[in-house]
């Protein structure tokens, strides 16, 4: 069968107006179903004719999924809330600026106007071998092309790999880990709450998925607890281009300060592993310090312990180390 691109294959478009209906439809169509949020990842797959769902479930008509609400002292962001709404939301800007900051680093204004919180978190990896429709592990095949000796793996991972070496492309994911967000995933058996860091899974668990979500699941909202409001935040995304580019390495860090001392820290890095990595050990290391230069240096070194480069991505090791240093040093 010859290959052809850039023509969306036919599908049935289903436009539920309630969460329950959406979940019912997902349950009904199972692996033939595809959830359409902002669609910016989905349309690529469709246009490449690689993913061919029989039914596309467009969540755009479900009012409950949209909007940012106060909840339990924190905030609840509907999965279909656009990234622009997040960037502009006054409370997010003031209390959880790292989330707005991260959302603002996504692609372009048009994409932020359409792309959603849920879509940004649930999007698939950008490994170009995989996205080219090659039959790699992630695509259900039996190999990883990106880790071959001369493969083009500049953007791939330096840790956490297991057969697959692709990285998670989300900009908001590390920021949500840094503020200890919870993802609420629903299916016909009811809602389930995941810590942000547990929401993302590596290929060792399931090589075909980036998150815990299985075909019947729907990410409905993200809860940001009050605990990390108004912490000291640091967000940085290193990319090749200023817009429409995925991270080489990005970092999101939150520091709860007491006087000049870090009481508690949460640091997450993306672009280095198949999932956003929370640096627990670094967090423990910096707690109780002032984020001074020596600590920052040690934090950087600790962060990259065990990192292993592929042929073309050794640079990510110092890049990650330097970003961790910078993040920790930012509070000093």
């Amino acid at each position: 069968m010859a290959k052809i691109r850039d023509m969306i294959p036919a599908f049935e478009l289903l436009q539920p107006t309630t969460i329950e209906a959406a979940i019912d439809l997902l349950d009904e169509h199972r692996s033939g179903a595809w959830v359409l949020a902002g669609g910016l990842d989905s349309f690529d797959w469709f246009k490449d004719r690689i993913k061919r769902p029989s039914a596309v479930i467009d969540l755009g008509g479900i009012p409950e999924l949209t909007g940012i609400r106060d909840a339990e002292g924190g905030l609840e962001i509907g999965a279909m809330t656009t990234l622009t709404s997040i960037v502009r939301h006054p409370r997010i800007r003031s209390e959880y600026s790292i989330v707005a900051d991260a959302a603002e680093h996504v692609a372009t204004p048009q994409i932020r106007n359409q792309g959603t919180m849920g879509g940004n978190l649930a999007q698939d990896t950008r490994c170009w071998y995989y996205r080219s429709g090659w039959p790699c592990y992630r695509a259900g095949g039996n190999t990883c092309y990106a880790s071959a000796p001369q493969a083009m793996n500049r953007e791939h991972c330096i840790m956490g790999r297991s057969r697959c070496v692709a990285v998670n492309p989300s900009d908001t994911a590390p920021a949500l880990i840094a503020v200890d967000a919870k993802m609420i995933v629903e299916n016909t058996s009811g809602p389930k709450v995941y810590d942000a860091e547990d929401f993302f899974i590596g290929p060792s668990i399931d090589i075909t998925r980036m998150t815990v979500m299985k075909p019947r699941d729907l990410l409905t909202r993200v809860h940001i607890p009050a605990a990390w409001a108004n912490a000291e935040f640091y967000y940085e995304k290193v990319r090749d281009r200023g817009s429409w580019d995925f991270q080489l390495v990005s970092i999101a860090a939150a520091f709860r300060m007491s006087g000049g001392t870090i009481e508690e820290a949460r640091i997450a890095v993306n672009g280095v592993a198949p999932y956003p990595v929370r640096l627990d050990a670094v967090e423990r290391l910096v707690a109780g310090t002032s984020g001074d230069e020596a600590t920052a240096n040690r934090a950087g070194d600790l962060a990259i312990a065990g990192a292993r480069a592929l042929r073309h991505n050794d640079y990510k090791i110092p890049m990650m180390r330097n970003l961790v240093r910078r993040a920790v040093g930012s509070v000093a």
Binding site: S132, W134, G140, N142, S147, A148
Partner: protein, 292 residues
């Protein structure tokens, strides 16, 4: 039902990537059918003619406990069993839908299996009576077949140290396991291990396809084989054998009932045996191969 999984490679050529998981379900189903069928068959089969009482004379000089498996052999067996079970669980349970980080466990178990098999091969050649296992016995097989088909057929001759079905099972498991092991070793080139750099281009796509299919075939075959093995191990009439793999010895009654003392000569070794089980690497010898 699909037998193979094939995909279009980057050049749009159709290549094999492995067996269809349908085969896994088939192996599971086949195993269940076999076990249930066998159990029913045993139940419905007319009772065997009562065995002649043990010939006291023959028993003379035969110790009460006869060493069947040395400690080393038993350690091998149980190591291999454990690794094999781990391999099967890590290979197939994720396919059933229960996901966990299986790859590393799988290849480590594979390495242990390889190590134990290597040790077993060396041990069997160097210290065990290699030929006691590696006898084909076509006449013996025919006799068994006739007996199975008709309970009226005369009972097949007694075996030496290893009954006919044990030997057959061993032959099959040797072939299947070696296939799994050899293909598995190559497949380790495609994953992260401390042994070598990953290189999916070590072989061409079609060669890899064959390797993956062989590995998959041996894997699903092992589902069936291991299931059958465990089933027989726990069947009441076979438990004395299972016990021998745990304790190392069989008692005189079972020895005389199931083995041909001429083929598995133990009398001369009594003294040695009484020195303590397992102290002697392998206390028995089988009859010369030509007699079979």
């Amino acid at each position: 039902m699909e037998f193979w999984r094939s995909v279009a490679n980057p050049w749009d050529q159709n290549v094999l990537i492995g067996v269809s998981w349908d085969l896994m379900w088939a192996a599971v189903g086949g195993a269940v059918l076999f076990l249930v069928g066998h159990a029913i068959w045993i139940k419905t089969r007319p009772a065997e003619a009562p065995q002649a009482p043990v010939d006291r004379a023959a028993a003379a000089g035969i110790p009460e406990r006869i060493q069947r498996h040395s400690l080393a052999a038993r350690i091998f067996h149980w190591t291999m069993s454990a690794t094999m079970l781990v391999l099967l669980v890590t290979a197939f349970v994720p396919v059933f839908g229960f996901q966990f980080a299986w790859v590393q466990v799988h290849w480590i178990a594979g390495v242990l299996l390889i190590a134990s098999v290597l040790w077993h091969v060396v041990h069997a050649i160097g210290w065990q009576d290699f030929w006691s296992m590696f006898q084909l016995g076509i006449d013996e097989g025919m006799a068994h077949l006739k007996h199975v088909l008709s309970s009226k057929a005369p009972a097949p001759p007694k075996a030496g140290k290893y009954p006919f079905d044990h030997r057959m099972y061993h032959h099959v498991i040797v072939v299947v396991s070696l296939a799994a092991i050899i293909t598995g070793v190559f497949m380790m080139v495609r994953i992260d291990t401390p042994f070598m750099a990953r290189n999916p281009y070590l072989f061409g796509d079609s060669t890899w396809g064959v390797i993956y299919v062989l590995h998959g075939l041996s894997g699903v075959a092992l589902i069936f084989l291991i299931a059958a093995h465990i089933y027989f191990a726990i069947r009441p009439e076979k438990r004395w054998i299972t016990w021998s793999m745990i304790r190392g010895w069989v008692d005189r009654e079972h020895y005389l009932a199931h083995h041909d003392p001429e083929k598995w000569v133990v009398a001369e070794k009594v003294a040695a045996l009484q020195g303590g089980t397992g102290a002697v690497a392998d206390a028995t010898v089988s009859a010369p191969r030509g007699e079979d």
